[in-house]
């Protein structure tokens, strides 16, 4: 019997792409989960961590740990934020035994959304139908830090009427990289354009990913050059019927 899950709706989803969060709730509830949203939640602290500001990252991480204290499963619709919590919280609290205990206690309970479906809910078919030709973008942290190559693809293959076409640069970075996207906007944009060329070659109508930040980078680039290809979070594809 499915139990209770606590969702962490990352700051970028909360403020810019709420539809992906709503879709995640729909899928989880469809599977019978009792979904809770702890409203004191904010961010995982990654922007500070990646910029080298550990004090600030620690403050935000501590807030996260407080908010999600006691949650059995924490489901996150982002590979990048999941990796921040399950891999890098331990880095920022290195040497602090007490905090490390809390971090290590939460690590196995944090799940990237699609991995949660496969590993905890133990299903690769959530009864979705999405009659489109899509291509999947491997976000770097999901792919390289969480090792998620097959997980999202297994779920996509079970979506009715969905055609999955692989692009030749699926594993290449989209160029977002957090503050990198504005500090080195020209390089970031060059990387996005390489990716866009590869997306266009597939003839896909939608680019799917598990990270909204990558999708923002890709859609922003597609939109600027007038292309109609849409970007969509995996949760939204799985919620569609």
């Amino acid at each position: 019997m499915p139990g209770r899950v606590s969702i962490f709706v990352t700051c970028i989803l909360d403020q810019l792409f709420p539809k992906a969060g709503v879709a995640m709730v729909a899928v989880l509830e469809r599977l019978g989960y009792d979904v809770e949203f702890r409203k004191e939640q904010t961010c995982c602290g990654q922007p500070a961590f990646n910029s080298g500001f550990h004090d600030e990252a620690r403050a935000v991480a501590r807030h996260f740990l407080d908010v999600f204290d006691g949650a059995e499963h924490i489901v996150v619709p982002s590979g990048s934020c999941t990796s921040m919590i399950s891999h890098h919280f331990a880095d920022i609290f290195a040497g602090d035994t007490k905090m490390l205990q809390r971090v290590h206690a939460i690590e196995p309970r944090v799940h990237e959304f699609s991995t949660f479906l496969l590993n905890v809910a133990q299903t690769d078919d959530v009864g979705a139908r999405f009659p489109q030709r899509v291509t999947y973008h491997d976000s770097c942290h999901a792919l390289r830090e969480l090792g998620m190559k097959d997980v999202p693809r297994r779920l996509l293959r079970k979506v009715k009427d969905l055609e999955l076409i692989e692009m030749d640069t699926a594993e290449e970075c989209c160029g977002f990289g957090g503050t990198f996207s504005v500090k080195f906007a020209q390089i970031s944009s060059g990387m996005a354009n390489t990716k866009v060329d590869s997306i266009l070659k597939t003839g896909a109508s939608h680019v799917v990913s598990v990270d909204s930040s990558c999708l923002m980078q890709l859609r922003g680039t597609l939109s600027r050059s007038g292309h109609k290809v849409e970007t969509i979070h995996l949760a939204e594809v799985l919620a569609a019927r």
Binding site: V9, C11, L13, D14, Q15, L16, F17, P18, K19, G21, F37, K39, E40, T42, C43, G45, P47, A48, F49, N50, S51, G52, F53, H54, D55, E56, A57, V60, H63, C140, R144, E145, E171, E172, C173, G175, F176, G177, G178, T179, F180, V182, K183, F184, A185, Q186, I187, S188, S189, G190, M191, A192, T194, M216, Q217, R219, G220, T221, S223, R224
Partner: protein
């Protein structure tokens, strides 16, 4: 010729294509050499190589002494150089003492690092690069563009123009002919040179050997034709035993060019012996510190010294593939350059360098000796935070994200000001957002208009 700036590189479609194609080809070669179960023990080899390197660095003092003793026993001599000047001074005084004025050189990033050619040429020692790519960039007066392929950015048409200008020969853009031209020029140099300088891919402590891998045979010629051979190497090139070599040779060629083994692997241990017909009469190994011992003392980032200079991280790096080798401040470019440049040259000089990365992590994935480059980039970013422009913004970030009411208020007010509209992507935003980071975002791509309601607004309404 002059170097292209970062922006010029990004704006030059021909150069972009050359860069993308050349690195892509090297990626493909590597994938073919490793993928498809060709080397089932590939991950074990990486683990082993990383462990051997880590161990060697931990006991480097022991292995350096052992190496020196072994070189001496073989009839050679080790020269300890604290920096580039000491290395060059030794070569200059040796050349003077022996009355030599022509030096042939095979490819060595270590010599590039200390600008050895400039130092020697200043004292009227003719020093000729004999690796084809190095020869080309020496003629062009450029820094190496890539650790393994120094003239990676140049097309055959560029080389044709260069040869016409520098060698006074007719234009010819057939690569084979260009190679023959270089060969003709360089053969004469090999025969006339009194000193050959090589680099070293590995130094083997238990046998005092210098190991060089290459494909053109020029390193073998440089180390055997002249009377005197000098190998110049950073102290981190050490491996303990000859029996460790197999692991590294299996990884280096595959990672660099996708070759199971390069065309030539030379294991050079000392001058010609009495019963031998060829080889140099004198054999010297210049061991260079130039910042390495300082890095060795840094436990967190010491693994930067594990690098075997295969160049795989450059080929795979999406940033390198856009900006090219000359957009990096030193001779080492790409991800490995990004982490060793600040550690060798000082962090103050180019504080932006560790930030020129999306932290995608592909470098660490392909590194044959498992250097965790993103981790080191993050450590370098951390060290530079005091001087960072982001300090104020990050303080605010932490304040906002630890106070949910404030986060909510700021988002509601800030994004509300931009104008909420579902499913719309905008090209511009209102002041003052237009002067912040969004300005740089919008310079190259569109931004989503904030949606009518945030997730938490939706959630709260739904609960009612």
């Amino acid at each position: 010729m002059r170097e292209n700036t970062r922006q010029e590189t990004l704006d030059d479609p021909k150069l972009q294509l050359a860069l993308y194609t050349a690195t892509g080809r090297l990626m493909d070669h590597r994938k073919k050499a490793i993928g498809g179960g060709k080397v089932p023990e590939y991950q074990d080899l990486r683990t082993r190589a990383a462990a051997v390197k880590r161990h060697t660095l931990d006991y480097l003092d022991v292995y350096l002494t052992q190496f020196e003793a072994a070189v001496q026993a073989n009839g050679g001599k080790v020269i300890w150089a604290r920096d580039g000047a000491e290395a060059a001074d030794f070569i200059l005084s040796l050349a003077k003492e022996k009355g030599e004025s022509l030096i042939v050189k095979s490819k060595s990033m270590t010599s590039e690092e200390i600008h050895l050619n400039d130092r020697l040429i200043k004292h009227e020692l003719e020093t000729v690069e004999t690796d084809l790519g190095e020869y080309i960039i020496q003629l062009a007066g450029l820094r190496p563009y890539h650790i393994v392929a120094p003239a990676l950015q140049m097309t055959r048409y560029d080389v044709s123009t260069l040869f016409e200008e520098k060698l006074g020969i007719a234009k010819d853009d057939v690569i084979e002919n260009q190679t023959m031209t270089a060969r003709r020029v360089l053969r004469e140099k090999f025969l006339a040179a009194g000193i050959g300088i090589t680099g070293a891919n590995f130094l083997v402590a238990d046998s005092g050997a210098v190991v060089i891998v290459e494909n053109e045979g020029n390193a073998r010629l440089s180390s055997s034709a002249p009377k005197i051979q000098i190998a110049i190497a950073g102290i981190e090139k050490m491996i303990p035993r000859v029996r460790d070599l197999g692991v590294f040779l299996a990884l280096l060629g595959r990672s660099a060019t996708g070759q199971a083994l390069t065309s030539y692997t030379s294991i050079l241990s000392g001058p010609r012996r009495k019963d031998e017909r060829d080889g140099p009469e004198e054999f010297y190994v210049v061991l260079l510190d130039a910042g390495r011992t300082k890095l060795l003392a840094d436990k967190e980032k010491r693994e930067s010294l594990q690098c075997i200079r295969c160049g795989a991280c450059l080929n795979y790096c999406p940033v390198y593939r856009k900006v090219g080798g000359h957009s990096y401040p030193w001779v080492y470019s790409g991800p490995i350059g990004k982490i060793i440049t600040p550690q060798f040259q000082g962090k103050e000089k180019d504080p932006w360098l560790p930030f020129m990365s999306s932290l995608c992590g592909v470098c660490a994935e392909v590194c044959p000796v498992k250097i965790d480059i993103p981790k080191i980039l993050l450590a370098l970013r951390r060290e530079s935070q005091k001087s960072s422009d982001d300090a104020g913004a990050m303080k605010w970030f932490a304040r906002l994200m630890t106070r949910p009411w404030l986060y909510r208020l700021a988002a509601s007010f800030g994004l509300g000001w931009l104008g909420r509209k579902d499913g719309v992507w905008v090209r511009e935003v209102k002041w003052p957002a237009s002067s912040g980071p969004l300005k740089d975002w919008l310079a190259v791509r569109d931004f989503p208009a904030p949606p009518e309601q945030s997730f938490r607004d939706w959630w709260e309404k739904r609960r009612k």
